[in-house]
């Protein structure tokens, strides 16, 4: 009891002393600084100018592609288009694609001779696709023993719209590609995509698979 009272009084005394002393002097200060003592160490806050370097940031990639698309029931056609990508990280990118092709005839149209299922404008196959891509297998490709170029095999998953047969179709696109950087800013692409959408053009509602194969050139900017 006595000792507890003693400790309590001691604590109170220390607390009072701490409160009474001005800001800089602390109870555990070995120097025992009294009020009015000038600060021994003056902090040198040197304000440095932070500079953003004039560096060329190249996260966009844009270019053109050409290839072939096999439009289900309508044969294979020449495909061409443009794409733009934005690279979030070294692994992930977003890609917007616009493409166009002109569908051919169905087997039925060819065999019957004259019957046409679609008008000329309805045969126009145009699409856009907004996709997320993943550089799954980055690496280098070697050409002979002297040249190594950065490359990547990537996968994409996208959603968009395909206008075909006079109607817009919600389209899910699965893709895979190979990107080869020929120098710091120019890349060549080999792409395979499968565009899937529901269509009732031939009377019955079905999921069509429209495979495309393309080569392309893009520039980083």
């Amino acid at each position: 009891m006595d000792r507890r009272l003693h400790a309590l009084l001691l604590n109170a005394a220390v607390a009072a002393a701490t409160l009474a002393s001005p800001g800089t002097a602390r109870a555990e200060d070995p120097v025992g600084a009294s009020p009015g003592t000038p600060q021994v160490v003056e902090p040198r806050v040197a304000r440095r100018e932070v500079k953003a370097p004039a560096i060329d940031t190249e996260n966009f990639e844009g270019g053109l592609f050409v290839g072939t698309v096999s439009i289900e029931d309508f044969g294979s056609s020449l495909l061409y288009g443009a794409r733009i990508a934005y690279h979030f990280t070294e692994d992930v990118f977003a890609e917007a694609t616009l493409g166009s092709a002109k569908a051919g005839n169905t087997s039925y149209e060819d065999l019957s001779g004259s019957a046409q299922l679609l008008t000329d404008s309805e045969r126009q196959y145009t699409y856009y696709d907004l996709a997320l891509g993943w550089n799954a297998l980055p690496g280098e490709s070697f050409f002979g023993s002297r040249r190594a170029m950065p490359s990547a095999v990537y996968f994409t998953l996208g959603a968009g719209s395909t206008r075909f047969g006079g109607d817009d179709h919600f389209t899910v696109t699965l893709g895979s590609g190979y990107r080869l950087l020929m120098n710091d800013w120019l890349a060549a692409h080999l792409d395979v995509r499968n565009q899937m959408f529901d269509s009732d053009l031939l009377g019955k509602d079905k999921l069509t698979q429209n495979l495309q194969f393309s080569i392309g050139l893009t520039a980083f900017f």
Partner: protein, 246 residues
């Protein structure tokens, strides 16, 4: 001695850069213990050179988190931004390389994103952009294309939203807005008139950061379509997408 080296590097850089490109590359002095120069802009590319502290390197270009540099001895390679965060200019000023920081989560202004989902049975593709008024309040505009079984359409809305915990890795948000919906019947069906109506929505969702600048977002919205008849139409919609901020 140090200054002589830096000056020599700068001079060499200027002389070397001249034929390649007109823009003069920025030169910085390495402050990290060492820099690892990779053969390509990715963590898996082999390290081909190492540059010590105090050496000067030229910054040539940046791709995502990788910066292509040229050393005083004319070696080129890609360095991760994290190794170049503490560098100085030849004059001793600090250099900050552009790129995402954790603070950017609450400091950024512009966001852009895409998504896909369901609009009362119809498929929907959405593109959105938003502008932050402060840490948690933002203005947002969306344009969506709708693909229904019997009709297609477009939906455009503008609204305001609130992010509850912008500094959290995953945060809930709410939003309200208004706009227009345009619906036209599918071409393979008999002719029916297309129509355009005003719409309003209230929504809620979750957003989570996958990296410092990239987030996934899932949102549920209830739309009220103001019809010409007395009955207004209520539509439930959800979308899942990704967003990037600048």
């Amino acid at each position: 001695m140090h200054r002589v080296v830096v000056t020599a590097c700068l001079l060499a850089g200027v002389l070397h850069a001249a034929p390649a490109s007109a823009s003069s590359a920025e030169s910085v002095v390495v402050q990290d213990p060492y820099l690892e120069l990779h053969s390509g802009p990715g963590r898996g590319f082999p390290v081909t050179q190492v540059v010590d502290r105090g050496a000067s390197v030229e910054l040539l270009r940046q791709r995502t988190d990788w910066i292509k540099v040229r050393t005083g001895r004319d070696h080129e390679g890609w360095v991760n931004r994290s190794q170049l965060e503490r560098t100085l200019t030849g004059d001793g000023d600090e250099v900050r390389l552009p790129g995402p920081t954790a603070e950017a989560r609450t400091e950024h202004r512009w966001e852009a994103g895409v998504g896909a989902g369901d609009f009362d049975g119809a498929d929907v593709v959405t593109v959105a952009a938003s502008y932050a008024l402060n840490d948690s309040l933002y203005l947002r505009a969306d344009v969506s294309q709708l693909f229904g079984e019997f009709s297609n359409g477009w939906l455009g809305t503008a609204g305001i939203g609130h992010i509850f915990m912008p500094q959290w890795r995953v945060s809930p948000f709410v939003g309200i807005g208004a706009g227009w919906v345009y619906v036209e019947p599918s071409a393979t069906l008999v002719e029916a008139p297309s129509r355009s109506n005003q719409a309003a929505y209230a929504g809620a969702g979750l957003r989570g950061y996958l990296s410092n600048r990239f987030l996934l977002q899932a949102e549920y919205r209830q739309y009220l379509i103001f019809m010409d008849t007395n009955d207004n139409e209520v539509i439930n919609a959800w979308t899942v997408g990704f967003t990037h901020f600048f």
